[in-house]
């Protein structure tokens, strides 16, 4: 796994902020952060019932509540804003077509995100297949993030995005769902059809790999002193 260009000076770029945020970063479900509790919305059942009744306002409400998060996740999974928007649109169509099969085994939002993740995987695979046929350079197959509105810390964001592209798809999915989108391991397990333990293990591996890619090389560190 390559680490070229991914290095970040932990001490200078991140850790000064990290100390102030505290519990958000603990992998424990309980202490894991504020947005991790938002996924089971109080009107989740009402939203599902509305969609089952074919009420377009319910779909609009779903978009208002989760659309931005769905788009963000899809963009990171696919590496392109255009593809992400297509994936979100496809997912809404699949939700409408498959709403009859939703029986409340999970929350409606979790079910919707499961569809989105599968749609993104299908899109990515079909895109890769097209590229294989065109015999493109294999480097082209890695997700390349498109430019985005200026964020709080562009260099940190870019380094993390590049490091994420080096992870396995599975590790990237779990990291994005847990750390970025704030889902709980139980929800991720449902979305990815894995066990909660597998979700925790995958997150651990993902973070370990990311750490390895983002930390400065030991020799450079020593040389700097």
């Amino acid at each position: 796994m390559g680490t070229v260009g991914l290095t970040l000076q932990w001490e200078h770029r991140i850790s000064s902020v990290a100390g102030e945020r505290g519990p958000r970063v603990q992998p424990s479900e309980i202490a894991a952060g504020q947005n991790r509790e938002n996924t089971a919305l109080p009107d989740d059942a009402a939203l599902a019932a509305g969609c089952q009744a074919g009420d377009l306002r319910a779909y609009e409400r779903l978009y208002q509540l989760q659309g931005a998060r769905m788009r963000n996740l899809a963009r990171h999974l696919l590496g392109s804003q255009t593809d992400a928007e297509d994936a979100v649109q496809d997912s809404f169509l699949k939700i409408q077509r498959g709403i009859g099969s939703f029986r409340g085994q999970s929350t409606f939002v979790t079910w919707a995100f499961r569809i989105l993740v599968n749609t993104c995987h299908d899109l990515r695979r079909s895109r890769l297949r097209r590229k294989e046929h065109r015999q493109d350079d294999s480097n082209e197959t890695l997700p390349r993030m498109e430019p985005r509105a200026p964020g709080a810390h562009p260099s940190l964001r870019m380094a993390l995005e590049r490091a994420l592209a080096e992870l396995t798809h599975h590790q990237r999915d779990v990291f994005l769902l847990y750390e970025v989108e704030g889902f709980r391991h139980a929800e991720i397990a449902t979305m990815l059809a894995i066990s909660e333990t597998a979700s925790k293990n995958t997150l651990f591996q993902a973070k370990r790999n990311l750490r390895g890619m983002l930390e400065p090389p030991r020799s450079a560190e020593a040389g700097g002193r």
Binding site: Y63, R148, E161
Partner: protein
């Protein structure tokens, strides 16, 4: 609670809030753990930088149009949903009464049919049920064997994937195998649960399709 440096990785993996607090306390007097803890936490902080939740009303307009088109193309589906909604919206008492009446009607019809047919014994139906189950299991075994053959054909490509597409297929197959194992364990515990069988079949079909795609890539 006391923790040592040896507990650090385990707590990172799946520590309880108490263990995290104990690790923080330990890190105050251990430079190595303090560094590791800070770096580990920094990843979560950095992940927050990846959130871009800007509104996009244009996308909703696109989605709304496609939902309307889809609805017009499949009006029957909505009709079924509405009928199901009537059932769901009905008070529980009414639903119970209707379900009871249905069961009663089916029982009476069943008794009538049994009495007016010259069936040799009632053990036959039980036997039939068992034989159907045996047939399902036999077919499932055959299907699994066929998929195993496909998997054997695809193995060289999957063992050392030559490109990211094959690596992606390999990961998908690992996830599918995990799900199949879990479902099979459940199905073994409850062999006559048809829903589990359908889920299992869907997983097998997904695996078959994935393996076929791997073999197509090979060609």
């Amino acid at each position: 609670m006391n923790v040592s440096c040896n507990d650090r990785e385990r707590i990172f993996l799946d520590g309880s809030p108490e263990e995290w607090a104990a690790l923080e306390q330990h890190a105050a007097s251990c430079a190595a753990c303090a560094g590791e803890l800070r770096a580990w936490k920094s990843l979560s902080t950095a992940a927050e930088e990846l959130r871009d939740y800007r509104e996009d009303p244009q996308l909703w307009m696109r989605i709304e149009n496609s939902l309307r088109e889809n609805e017009q193309a499949h009006p029957l589906r909505r009709g079924l949903s509405e009928r199901l909604r009537i059932w769901r919206d009905m008070p529980l008492g009414w639903r119970t009464a209707l379900a009871g009446a249905l069961v009663l009607a089916l029982t009476i019809s069943g008794v009538y049919v049994v009495r007016h047919q010259n069936t040799p014994d009632t053990g036959q139906s039980r036997l039939l049920k068992n034989s159907v189950l045996a047939e399902v299991e036999r077919t499932e075994r055959d299907y699994m064997k066929a998929i195993d053959k496909l998997a054997a054909d695809a193995k060289p490509e999957l063992d050392s994937p030559a490109n990211p597409l094959l690596a992606s297929y390999k990961e998908k197959l690992i996830v599918l195998d995990g799900a199949i194992d879990e479902l099979r364990t459940e199905a073994e515990r409850n062999p006559s649960n048809a829903h589990l069988r359908y889920e299992l079949l869907a997983m097998y079909q997904e695996k078959q399709q994935t393996l076929q795609e791997v073999l197509e890539t090979k060609r």
